[in-house]
């Protein structure tokens, strides 16, 4: 025998750890170095925690309107009562300005409304599982709907903070659902295209080109016009996801196709074939694990586009409509200059949109850089 290679004495513990590391470990170690992506990941996690606990974080019933508190500005929290720590808000009295007909609100420093954690409020179903009326925030001895307005109220006097929590839930979930939809179509059609080639590939590729060449806004308008106004929100919601998925699958399909094409000629795939491995084993044991991480990165980068799409559709009145609450639906109220000039807080829902989109982009960048630890 030729000289055998012995395990080297000087191999350090950390080197040995790398030698037996799976691709996911290697990716995680590389991802961890990308500070911005780590921060973005934390923000995204926060957002999704918010999605799960949306009703718990809201304190006022988002559908209850009251003309007597319309367009109320954001209300500050006072942390100290004299020297003792006792968070409270001031009670408000509203009256209409006789000259401008605008409602003006006057805080009353003598009417202190103490805030309370884990207070009881409106009743909701937590994740559709059980009924509860606990909320993170509430007030003692009064209805939250009448007393706290952390981000102000809209034209109908509904609490913006609570509505924002529920809008985040809907918008973030619809993004996920849209991506799941396009992921399914993208992997299926891209996989077929890359795997079979020839005529199948040709047809699917031309189809992608056609879908991509359609101007999106007129397409959305046409599709949205097809939604009957009599449909319940849930069905509209499903339909919007479907539209987003149908438009969004093309990029993912191209990524998947490209991966299949390049992997098909890889030596290790040929080796598996020569060893007698079946097609299923080659696809699921060799090819899919090689591009799964790329798909995850591409998906993360596709999410913000979905969120933006839903927001713009709803903003234009083509997507979700009241009584559904999404970021786009909230922003619809900030459509005219008067609203923005007189009650700028109506624009606040744009902030989470921007933050979420940026965070997804940074996270996607980090994932993409980490996706191929052997490159």
């Amino acid at each position: 025998m030729s000289v055998a290679i012995e395990p080297q004495e000087q191999e350090t513990v950390s080197a040995q750890r790398i030698f037996v590391a799976t691709q996911w470990q290697l990716m995680w170690w590389r991802f961890r170095k990308h500070k911005l992506a780590m921060i973005a990941a934390a923000i995204i996690i926060l957002f999704y925690v918010g999605v799960v606990f949306a009703d718990f974080l809201a304190y006022a019933d988002p559908q209850i309107s009251e003309a007597q508190r319309s367009l109320l500005p954001p209300q500050p929290i006072h942390w100290y009562d004299g020297d003792t720590f006792r968070p409270h808000v001031f009670g408000l009295t509203g009256k209409r300005d006789p000259k401008t007909f605008k409602r003006v609100y006057q805080p009353d420093p003598n009417l202190k409304v103490p805030l309370k954690l884990f207070a009881e409020g409106y009743e909701y179903k937590f994740l559709g599982l059980f009924k509860t009326n606990r909320h993170l925030l509430g007030v003692e001895g009064a209805r939250a709907e009448d007393t706290i307005f952390l981000l102000g109220t809209d034209l109908q006097g509904r609490d913006l903070f609570s509505r924002l929590m529920l809008a985040t839930q809907l918008s973030m979930v619809i993004g996920l659902a849209g991506v799941a939809m396009s992921l399914f179509l993208g992997i299926l059609l891209g996989g077929l295209s890359g795997l079979y080639g020839g005529a199948v590939d040709n047809i699917i590729q031309r189809m992608i080109e056609i879908v991509r060449s359609i101007p999106t806004i007129p397409l959305w308008m046409a599709l949205a016009a097809a939604v009957p106004t009599s449909w319940p929100i849930t069905r509209v919601y499903f339909f919007i996801t479907l539209i987003l998925g149908i438009i969004g699958w093309t990029t993912l399909a191209r990524v998947v196709r490209g991966r299949f094409l390049s992997l098909r000629t890889e030596d290790f795939v040929t080796a598996a074939e020569l060893a007698g491995a079946g097609q299923m084993r080659i696809i699921f044991r060799h090819m899919v694990p090689s591009f799964l991480s790329h798909i995850i990165a591409a998906t993360t980068l596709a999410l913000p586009a979905m969120i933006i799409a839903e927001t713009s559709l709803s903003f234009l009145g083509l997507g979700l409509r009241a009584p559904a609450i999404s970021w786009g639906v909230l922003l619809q109220q900030a459509q005219n200059i008067q609203a923005v000039a007189l009650s700028p807080w109506l624009l606040y829902p744009a902030i989470p949109v921007i933050v979420a989109v940026l965070a997804f982009n940074f996270l996607g960048d980090g994932l993409r850089d980490a996706a191929d630890p052997y490159g």
Binding site: M1, S2, A4, A275
Partner: protein, 339 residues
Amino acid sequence: MNETRQTLLEVRGLKKYFPIRKGLLRRVVGNVRAVDDVNFTIRRGETLSLVGESGCGKTTTSRCILRALTPTAGDVNFLTEKQRVVNIATVPKSQLRPLRRQMQMIFQDPYSSLNPRMTLLDIIGEPLLVNGVGTASDRRDRVEELLKLVGLPPEFMSRYPHAFSGGQRQRIGIARALALEPALIVADEPVSALDVSVQAQIINLMLELQEEMGLSYLFVAHDLSVVKHVSDRVAVMYVGKIVEIAGTEDIFQQPMHPYTEALLSAVPKPDPRLRSQRIILEGEVADPASPPSGCYFHPRCKHVIDRCRTESPVLEEVQPDRFVSCHRARELTLAGVQE
């Protein structure tokens, strides 16, 4: 070499054309004749080297033999364990698996030939697993044995390929090829991606394994000094055709085809006085999509006569066990490599 040895593999009239498609309708406008009527045999326990320039069809030939590519025409007759001759070129794909156990491949690039996402146990054990050999613990034992055989410590089994150098990876590739105890191994430039010092180790390992297990090798290479060291016989390819096949000694000492002579003159020589004898071929390698008339080599050959331009030569047995495809094979005296 020993004449009584059994023929393990016989390649007859092997052709592989790749269609050239053009236009919207992807009509076939021509063919790249990557392998064009190749004939040779490999005997049991023998090493046949296939040499030639890049793009001459060596790799395509080797892949056709393993049916990694389906040949356009021709036969690849393989003598199975059960002493039955099977034509690999035409056997239905569903019946290939038992045949593939008997012929395996070593790849050129040790980096792309191992799946980076699998441990050595999974990589080397894969041929065993997909062919349903033994239980999980049997396979583990066998992988351990194979790793020892190629000179790697068995405890490396749980590591991933990224833990290893090029030479070590090539050993892993060899272990995988040996897992099913094949009779024939097609080695597609197994050392050309490695450092010279490591090349020798891998070559010696392959020779030792050959002796121990009675393997036959089809050794595809372009490095003639390596070829001289490992092979029993050498086949020289030029633009998809074999121009000369002979025993290693014969071909190196006295080539009979002008192309072989030119190739041999490019072997580095330790004696500087001999270096001036290098033959520099003029012109480009013929295009396999539109090869020249007559002998494909004639535009670059200094011994060209009119007949070469019109009539293509066939591979004939000029001397016992020496096949040359040249009209002037019998009259020319060409220079080989002096010892």
